[in-house]
């Protein structure tokens, strides 16, 4: 029997032993086993593909941030400080489309999903490694084409592309921009197929559905939504393109069409799309909050099923974007009730996370600071959504800055904070280096404070009626706009800081070791950076994912003669749920 190290938590599998320093320096892992640009561009290793996504998603995040800098600077004065009307319209459209399609939707599934899903379930790679690489190329092709279209002519329809404006009246590259988005949609679908197949078919022995880390549950739910929703936006773009190219009237009332049909089809994808964005973030929070409070997640089943519940009910609420569009009285009623229903699982999650902190042992490194920021800001974002989901209160707030504040609280205060939490949590695993504790905590504080200063004034602006997408506004709104822009500048600094200390850690940071955070997941039981095929022997899982409170469980099992960590276990029939190898929790 292998000697199990002294632990004050119980990992899901027997940890791989750390090598002594002189062997560690020569160890081959996924970063150094091959060199050269083509070993990266033609890799099928899910970890390298995750890093490819990391670099490209970060670049697109900067583009989106540049666009919003233009927007917010322009809003300093009521008559527009730096941009013409057309330029402003292109700037806010660029901000919206880039942030949504080229950052929020792909970032966690592409980076953390690709990197971690196989490791967390004990597999050697994703189900379809070559498809994984194709997915990245398709995404890059669509994204680069799209950004090129934004630069050579711009797009000024807003990310929502409503006809008849987008089909008949806009003078910008709607067609080609739509083509770019269409292409990136394929990447979404391929990634989703890969993740679902991997989770179903490639779990290691002992990894039953109820022992999966909640990040995996979240990625599974996200992939379900991507699978079902993305094709509908694809066909919607095709119909819009047909209308533009051939001058026919699918959505144009002058030619017998109906513009509301576009809105239905568009929002049928775009509402679940926001759940594609937030669910992976929630998945990350599960991992960080358990690790940094050293406690089991409160209510595993509730959190797991609420992810699936959000995914399912999220497909039934798209009409709450169209309460005032003329969709019909009974439809409005139905969508409003269902929206109230979809709010419940998110509330359950927030309460469960808060309860996880109870009687824990909490430390506040950067991942945890971002996690706490998430909890506060996502709660505010979620509850302000209630105003918008109810028929009566949406009338006044629709298409005002209230909506903008709401979705930025959930997307930025929620998802972006969760992404940063995840990036900082798994950075040592991905790179083997630890970043500066001081600078990372400072960046978190700056970002969160800046965020609050940016968006709380926008709730007030929205309630007072300031509409969205306005380059000029009524003079009485100026002070709040200036406040918001000031906050945005601070926020921007907070997001730029990781661009410095994270790469710096690659050269100046101390070596992180296999498990710097003392976490329980499978990915933490291998050295950092992980080996080429993740695990030297197939892991066998004995416990659920968050056994922080049950120290030395492995030792107890060992004493009972129930762990055989030297042998290759007899792997049960592939494709089926692996039978319980050990009676665990």
């Amino acid at each position: 029997m292998t000697k199990v190290p002294e632990l004050h938590y119980t990992p899901q599998m027997v940890p791989m032993p750390e090598l002594p320093p002189e062997q560690e320096a020569n160890r081959l892992h996924y970063l150094n086993h091959s060199y050269g640009i083509f070993s990266w561009l033609l890799t099928v290793d899910h970890k390298r593909i995750g890093l490819l996504y990391l670099v490209s998603a970060s670049v697109f995040f900067l583009f989106g941030g540049l666009a919003v800098a233009l927007v917010r600077l322009n809003l300093i004065t009521p008559t527009g400080a730096i941009l013409e009307l057309d330029q402003y319209n292109k700037a806010f459209t660029a901000h919206g489309t880039i942030m949504l399609f080229l950052f929020l939707i792909p970032v966690i599934p592409g980076v953390l999903g690709n990197f971690l899903v196989p490791m967390m379930i004990g597999a050697k790679d994703m189900a379809f490694p070559k498809l994984n690489l194709l997915s990245w190329y398709v995404w890059m092709a669509g994204a680069m084409f799209f950004v090129w279209q934004l630069t050579v002519g711009g797009l000024d329809t807003g990310w929502t592309l409503y006809p008849p404006y987008s089909s008949k009246y806009s003078h910008t590259n709607v067609l080609y921009a739509g083509l770019g988005i269409f292409i990136t949609g394929f990447s979404s679908i391929l990634t989703a197929v890969n993740i679902i197949a991997t989770i179903h078919k490639m779990r290691c022995p002992g990894m039953t559905w109820s022992r999966l880390p909640l990040f995996i549950w979240a990625m599974y739910a996200t992939s379900l939504i991507q699978l079902l929703g993305t094709p509908v936006i694809a066909v919607t773009i095709i119909l819009l393109a047909t209308e533009k190219i051939f001058g026919v009237g699918i959505f144009d009332p002058a030619l017998e069409g109906d513009p509301i049909l576009f809105q239905h089809m568009f929002w049928f994808y775009s509402h679940p799309a926001v759940y594609i964005m937030i669910l992976p973030g929630m998945g990350v929070i599960n991992e960080t909050i358990t690790c940094f409070s050293r406690k089991n997640i409160f209510g595993y089943k509730a959190v797991a099923w609420s992810s699936v519940g959000i995914a399912v009910v999220g497909f039934l609420v798209w009409g709450h974007h169209m309460f005032l569009a003329g969709q019909g009285y009974y439809l409005g009623l139905l969508f409003s009730i269902l929206t109230m229903l979809v709010a419940v699982p998110s509330a359950i999650k927030v309460f469960n996370w808060s309860a996880t902190l109870f009687k824990g042992s909490i430390s506040f490194e950067a991942p945890m600071m971002y996690t706490m920021g998430f909890l506060v800001l996502f709660t505010i974002g979620g509850v302000t959504g209630l105003y918008l989901g109810v028929l009566g209160s949406d009338i006044h707030l629709h298409d005002t800055y209230f909506v903008i504040a709401h979705f930025h609280f959930t997307m930025v205060g929620g998802m972006l904070m969760a992404w940063l939490a995840g990036l900082h949590f798994w950075w040592p695993k991905m790179t083997g280096k630890m970043y500066s504790d001081f600078w990372s905590r400072l960046a978190a504080v700056v970002a969160i404070v800046g965020f609050i200063m940016t968006f709380i004034p926008q709730f007030i602006l929205g309630y007072n009626g300031m509409p969205r997408r306005y380059p000029n506004y009524a003079p009485e709104f100026q002070f709040l706009n200036i406040l918001s822009t000031a906050g945005a500048s601070i926020q921007g600094i907070g997001y730029l800081m990781p661009l410095f200390y994270l790469p710096a850690s690659l050269f100046l940071g101390r070596k992180a070791g296999g498990n710097p955070w003392m976490a329980t997941g499978l990915e933490w039981q291998v050295p950092s950076p992980p080996p080429m095929h993740n695990f030297d022997t197939t892991p066998v899982v004995y416990y659920g994912p968050y056994e922080y409170s049950m120290p030395n469980g492995l030792e107890q099992l060992e004493k009972a003669g129930m762990i055989f960590s030297d042998e290759e276990p007899n792997i049960a029939h592939a494709g089926l749920s692996t039978p319980e190898v050990i009676r665990g929790s």
Partner: protein, 360 residues
Amino acid sequence: MFAAIEIPTVPPQASEFAATYDLFFWYITAVILAGAGVVFAMLIAFSYLYARRTPTDRTPRILGSTKLEMLWTGIPFVFFMSFFVFGFKIYNDQLDIPDDAPEYFVAGKQWMWKMQHPDGQREINELHLPVCDQRDASGKLTDPGIKMSGTSEDVIHDFGIPAFRHKFDVVPGRTITVGYKPTLIGTYHIFCDQYCGQGHSQMVGKIHVLSKADYAAWKEGTFRLPGKNPVDGSPAWEGRKLFLKLQCNSCHNNEASARAPQLSGMYGTNRPLEDGKLQKFDDEYIKRSIRNPIAQVAAGWKSIMPAYPVDKVDEIELRNLTAYIKSLKNTDKLPDRTELAPAPVGAPVQPSPGAAAPKP
């Protein structure tokens, strides 16, 4: 640094719906502040109480509690349903438009709002409405309010009035009807609330809620906000057109050599007639002066005005002319003598033949 730092807090409650809306809004706010407050209190308390003390702290193995799960599923659900019910009720109430409400019409187009009143007055980017102030014994509003039907001529716009807490999308190819019951006299914003292109932020306007009397006068064209013309389509507007068509301005104009008295600011005053009596400058006097001018000539002026019997100026036209003259304030100028027939460029301005009569 700033002359006055203006922080708008709550827009004026200018309609009946606005009052109920705000009640609902603050109810939701109270509930969510309480709920979020519970969460924040937990986060703060736990962060302080359970901060890590040693690297090897032991924590209890708490897996969950079905009772708590049901509690914090059930309680939010009940509150969310209360939001839905309350919201649905006020949504329904504002959809309830009485049949006898007068019908107004708004058309949005890139990038302006065109409004039309039931009696034909037309406005662009402005809307004048009468206030609803009839209440019954219990204080409930009995005014039917107004009915507004809207459509778009090109892309989707949205007619939004924050002071009424109301907006609705105007969609090309469809007409949507809503109802307003303005309850507070004042001027408020109209915003376009659906992105419609370059001029989306220029597509703003003003809604003026007037007292019922002022509104009636405005409709006629005699009530005007300073510096404005009588509204398109009103009797006074028609009267002005007729004033020019009949060339009344060839004598009744602003020049020193005018052959006829000034009319601005005359309405309601007492003017001396030829025979020394004082005549009140009212509607009847105006009409008589048009029909049969030699019967009462203003003091100091020659009796040279031609008569306009009913075959030259019919009753409706007479009413319109009267409305126009009535609408002329002290600060308004009569149309120039050459408004319809300007002199050639460079021609000297000739005084008209006839007496240089002193202005009254």
